[in-house]
């Protein structure tokens, strides 16, 4: 699942993800709230949860940090199924440290997500 308000980025990142495997289903959400609501809607159907979330920080309304705060309150079982990776423009050390402080944030990547990076992620988390 791509959580990012920038449609161009979502478009490009989906394309890079599908280069590694065209059968991957990519869900795109434009705000933290939309993403959260989507996750909550799959509460009874946890097999439908995304395996991987790419989370932007700077979004209008519920931003990436707000999303993480809300996400922490979700069922632990729901959390255990999802890998969260920050995908953002910022390469600021403060942001990296802030993201790493969340135990359920697995990685921090600066945009753009490329086919090469995606291959690395699949190898690291899904092989």
């Amino acid at each position: 699942m791509l959580v990012d308000d920038d449609h161009n980025d979502n478009f490009f990142h989906e394309r890079e993800i599908k280069k590694t495997n065209p059968t991957i289903i990519v869900i795109k959400k434009n705000t933290g709230l939309e993403a959260l609501e989507y996750l909550q809607s799959k509460k009874e159907n946890i097999d439908m949860l995304p395996d991987l979330i790419f989370l932007d920080i700077n979004m209008p309304g519920m931003n990436g940090w707000d999303f993480l705060q809300e996400y922490e309150r979700l069922d632990k079982e729901l959390q255990s199924r999802v890998i969260i990776i920050m995908l953002t423009t910022s390469d600021n050390d403060d942001d990296v440290a802030r993201a790493k402080a969340w135990s359920f944030v697995s990685d921090y990547i600066t945009k753009p997500l490329t086919e090469e990076i995606m291959v690395g992620i699949i190898k690291k988390y899904f092989d």
Partner: protein
């Protein structure tokens, strides 16, 4: 008869008593006179002392009045100065605030600029990948030009971002400048080797500096000294230090292309490059601006002396703290 005798005796006794009383009276009178005399003498002394005391008192009162006046004046001066200080403090506060705002602005601006730039680069990539079959050579060339500009702008934005954050979280530590220079030299070993440069380092002090930033000064000056070299000549770099009053003055000399005197100040401005042809001397025009900012962070100064075609010497001072 007996009665008469007793009377006579009594009379006699009385006479004696009377004469004794008289004598006692006389003596007492004498004493009194003497005492009176002494007393009046004492009185005179006392009066003199009182007079003296009065005049001393008067003097003290005068001095007190003067001191009081002086104090009032000083107080007024102090009040005036305090008022001035309040104004200066306010101005300083505003200045600090403005500076913070500006830094924040540079940070946000450069951050926001990155996003559309990335979109341009991404879509150039998509065109290249999806339409390669129908692109003619001209379009491919144009796309390459767009890409190069995007890359350059991306470098500029990152530099600006870095520049705006320079010195945040800085930490003062005691470092051996010789060790710093040695580690910079080993970091740039590849370009030193490829350019056959020689680097001479004289005696160096131990100083309290912002280590990461301080290191960057030498890194930039040394790479510049190697980069701006005449064709066919081997770079010779000399690094030395000298204690002058409360400062250490460092210098980095080269035998490179040199700088014209009209550019002595401009070289330290951000994004100012003296050489237009990127192929000849590649650069972002930011290295010396960094140096200047870092030196200023240490409350020091930086300047250059140079002669075209002969070489340049960059000087900077770091106060001993």
């Amino acid at each position: 008869m007996e009665k008469r005798k007793k009377l006579d005796e009594l009379i006699l006794e009385n006479q004696e008593l009377a004469s004794q009383i008289l004598v006692a009276h006389q003596e007492m009178t004498d004493e009194l006179i003497k005492a009176k005399k002494e007393f009046s003498f004492l009185n005179e002394e006392k009066e003199k002392q009182v007079a003296k005391l009065i005049s001393a008192n008067k003097l003290m009162a005068e001095q007190l009045a003067k001191a009081h006046q002086e104090l009032v004046f000083q107080n007024k001066e102090k009040e005036k100065r305090a008022a001035e200080l309040i104004i200066i403090n306010k101005e300083l506060e505003q200045f600090v605030f403005a500076n913070k705002e500006l830094k924040q602005f540079a940070y946000i601006a450069s951050h926001e600029l990155k996003e559309p730039l990335r979109t341009i680069a991404n879509f150039v990539q998509i065109i290249n990948e999806e339409y390669s079959a129908i692109l003619d050579e001209k379009i491919i060339e144009y796309l390459r030009t767009i890409n190069n500009s995007v890359k350059r702008m991306s470098i500029l934005i990152n530099s600006l971002l870095h520049f705006s954050r320079l010195g945040i979280n800085k930490k003062l530590s005691n470092v051996d400048c010789k060790e710093i220079i040695d580690s910079v030299v080993s970091d740039v070993a590849v370009i030193i080797k490829s350019s056959n440069a020689t680097i001479e380092v004289s005696e160096m002090p131990k100083l309290n500096v912002y280590e990461i930033e301080f290191r960057q000064i030498f890194q930039n000056l040394i790479t510049n000294a190697i980069k701006f070299q005449k064709k066919g000549s081997l770079p010779k770099i000399q690094i030395s230090s000298e204690k002058i009053n409360e400062n250490y003055r460092f210098s980095v000399s080269d035998n490179g292309i040199g700088i014209a005197p009209t550019h002595f100040d401009r070289v330290f401005d951000i994004f100012q490059r003296l050489h237009n042809t990127e192929e000849e001397f590649e650069g972002k025009g930011i290295g010396l601006a960094y140096c200047k900012k870092i030196v200023q962070l240490h409350q020091g100064e930086i300047w250059v002396k140079s002669e075209l075609g002969k070489g340049s010497t960059f000087y900077f001072t770091i106060p001993i703290i």
